[in-house]
Symmetry: C2
Amino acid sequence: MKVRNILGERFKERAFDIESQNLMTRGGYMKQVGNGIYSLFTPTKRIQNKIEAILREEMDAIDGQEVLFPVVMPATLWQSSGRFESIGKELLRFKDRSGADMVLGMTHEEAAVQLAMNVAGTYQKYPFMIYQIQTKFRDEPRARGGLIRVREFTMKDAYSFHTSQEDLEKYYERAYRAYERIYARAGVPEVIAVKSDSGMMGGKVSHEFMLLTDIGEDSIVICPECGFRANMEACEAITENSADAEMLPLEDVFTGDAKTIEEVGALLNITSKQTCKAVVYQRNSDDSYVLVFCRGDLEINETKLTNYIKSEIHPAVEIENADLTAGNIGPVGLSTKATVLFDRSLCGATNLVCGANKEEYHFKGFNPSRDLPEGTEFIDLTKAVEGGVCPNCGKHSLNIRRGIEVGNIFQLGKRYTESMGMTYDTETGERKNPIMGCYGIGVGRLIASVCESHHDDYGPIWPITIAPWQVEICALRANDEAVHAAADKLYNALLDAGVDVLYDDRSVSAGFMFSDADLLGAPVRVVISPKTLARGCFELSARDKSFGGDIAIEDAAQSVIDKIRELTDAINAKVPERL
Amino acid sequence: MKVRNILGERFKERAFDIESQNLMTRGGYMKQVGNGIYSLFTPTKRIQNKIEAILREEMDAIDGQEVLFPVVMPATLWQSSGRFESIGKELLRFKDRSGADMVLGMTHEEAAVQLAMNVAGTYQKYPFMIYQIQTKFRDEPRARGGLIRVREFTMKDAYSFHTSQEDLEKYYERAYRAYERIYARAGVPEVIAVKSDSGMMGGKVSHEFMLLTDIGEDSIVICPECGFRANMEACEAITENSADAEMLPLEDVFTGDAKTIEEVGALLNITSKQTCKAVVYQRNSDDSYVLVFCRGDLEINETKLTNYIKSEIHPAVEIENADLTAGNIGPVGLSTKATVLFDRSLCGATNLVCGANKEEYHFKGFNPSRDLPEGTEFIDLTKAVEGGVCPNCGKHSLNIRRGIEVGNIFQLGKRYTESMGMTYDTETGERKNPIMGCYGIGVGRLIASVCESHHDDYGPIWPITIAPWQVEICALRANDEAVHAAADKLYNALLDAGVDVLYDDRSVSAGFMFSDADLLGAPVRVVISPKTLARGCFELSARDKSFGGDIAIEDAAQSVIDKIRELTDAINAKVPERL
């Protein structure tokens, strides 16, 4: 393809703060159509097609059958699993012309069960896996970062069906490995798997595949000592309290206007670790209150809290009706209708400062083991912290990093087959519900993530395996007849060899041409100019500057092909074997 | 792939009247999820992937750039072209979580203009063509025939942009040829192009590509004499009247309860051709009446009527409020608020019978040239008829056939670029709106259409170029060790050679296995059994019975590959050259 023909404009002005969004906008990769809704120009679609080909190969290799589920589904299908009611506004609901309730597919567990329902009635059909690559719509309240978090996206989603947990686990390992292969083949072998919270998907064991980057939305907990990795949402928090020798008596202390942990700490000259803080939430369903006490230096992990109380929550907005003394709430002498919970961090702590449940006063000498009723339950409700204790190896080694989730795999269990009534007959004639796993990768987000981790100030540096074009020929002074002829010849030779080649033969300055080439991100570049011809050569260089030098004109096509192979081999060398 | 692993069940019972729907349901190709909404099992998805590959190759060959538009679009985009208001309920409208009006894409002219809008501001960027393969949703009131007419479907839609009508026409020819190539490559070179009505798309010149079949929804007018072809909707109707020697006087005749053309004709012993009939419609917008008079033997072409009055219409349901004498409506002495139109068939007709606008009476001797006001306009509002006059060559040669529309191409003109304000600067600095063309093919409908025209009583006969599997190995008595070993060896050899091979090694009867193979429709079949091994050979046969016989075991893989190449060559021989 010729650069002059690519639809889309490239420009220099910084457009956004997130670098992938900035460079992909500046490079003419996409255009916003609505909030979180994009059209993709041809460079992005070319990348997408290459990623889809990798996805198909890897899914087929783990015995996947490609199918296609609908984008628009009748609500009855989602009612049969109970999710039509349980999922929030991110599930877009509407009525069709006949007034029937419909939804836009944000995930396809129900559709997968519906498709398999009557055609897998005997154990002999198991296991099997079906997958699709299809458009999804999730009505995200906060679309951001270009293709990182959108409302409409292309996704590869796969669903496996099994007759035993062991069989699911065996398959889960294969899928896990397939995912490692997919990221490695797409040029991002640095993607790591972390344990995750299964959230609305149901099921117990799940992993997210994360690309670590400061602009990531997720917090990842990593132990460099033992290799433990978990999403913050799912990471057990282990806190240690060094007990004081002696429990001091509980006594009032005047704290006046000091309300926050910081204010009280400053006033009493103590660290936040020596306090007990109260955090108030409300249930989304009925705005009823949930009051959580934890050590003052920690933060509440809202995912754990949600899972524990089995109800979606939000930070309390109106505390006036809550029979609570805002800023002075404490666990002793508390009289409230709120659900009251205590975090594990309070267990074993001594001599804390906490609210006294009256204006302008706190308590000193709060000792949970003494001052809370016998049998008080301490629950894990806080976030792990940098330098905290690893739940796996027990060392004070935890690192907290940011990451973008570029895929996930779940052991769903019978969540959907039970609720939707899908059964099979076992060898002994029993009727059972199959056990499911599901496996997703968002294609657009993966593209943006690769850009996020593979770019320089001038543009994306696409890995050769997914680059929209593997090589770009820059013909400087293309109106020079010799240059144009030499460039045309190489272009045609590479086309004939099946290379994805981009050709810039515009009459523009070298600076302009290179700046466009940087934004288009072809990993290999050939420069042809009157100067190089005078030297009897072309210049071959890498977008990532890993190589660069003259090549002989007569061997140019072969040199380019060799270089492409070399780059491809380097990527494939990092791809683990299939299981 | 092994037959035992394909998800989906095959069965014998006739499921539907339309043969493609029947066979594709019986063969486990798809499953209904909702009205006009299907999930596709892997055989169909495999066909779809092959058709998509053909579509990409042919679109790329006419300089298309693949892009991706969203399924969900903000209503503002459709308001900018005026279609948010003008299109009926087939455009599905809904609100997102923020209350913003949204639509589901049923076509993407607006999205194409939005994508190109700010990146094609100068004449030097033209012409260009962008295309996508994406899911569409059209809220059809009457889904039918399996994948023939659905609400959700995968479509290839392309949009070209030009700076002159001549350039559009030149490109239109290339696209037309690309379409001929696509159908030929998909194994249906019998698809014909017919002139069509542009309908809601805007623009003037358009063609539909039609597969002729009795179950088609469209009526196609064909002249075998001169090759003229048009959709009935767009076909000019030419009627001839042989004038009587003498105009008889207009006089009342008592017809009592006789209301219809048939009843009146029977009573007065005349043919319907000797009558003038009245057909009453109402405008969808305000239910106001439109009254059309035409010769009694003809039918109103509602598309022409809609285009003429520029308003959607429906047959009148309530005629009581219409100041009309139902069953006795006539053009003479008529007093009505309805819009009154006269078809061309009345021009030159003599001595017709028509209603007298009073109960129980008709007129005899109605002579339009005498009895209608001077200057009465006669408009082409009826359907062409079998044996009618060809508008191209003038012979009484017209045939009316049924067809399925499997694609369409439109010269859109400036319909969208004007309304949406897309402009470019000409070489002389003028601002102009680009001229557009658009080009669509529904993938699922094409698959069903191929099945409709390529099947026998036992199943589809897929053309080798789009078959889900090119060859099926049937291992009869697969539990026989020698059979299984021989079949495995051939299976692996074909897999290694990159052949799409299906392998049935189930312990089922020959009848059962062949019946499944017929439904799966692989064009080439290899049968391996103890009997064939005893003869020292395998059996090679065609699904369409065009060949069959023994092949040597040692050359089996090569024989299969040769046969596949032969079948592929036969299809390619019918593909016209690119323009």
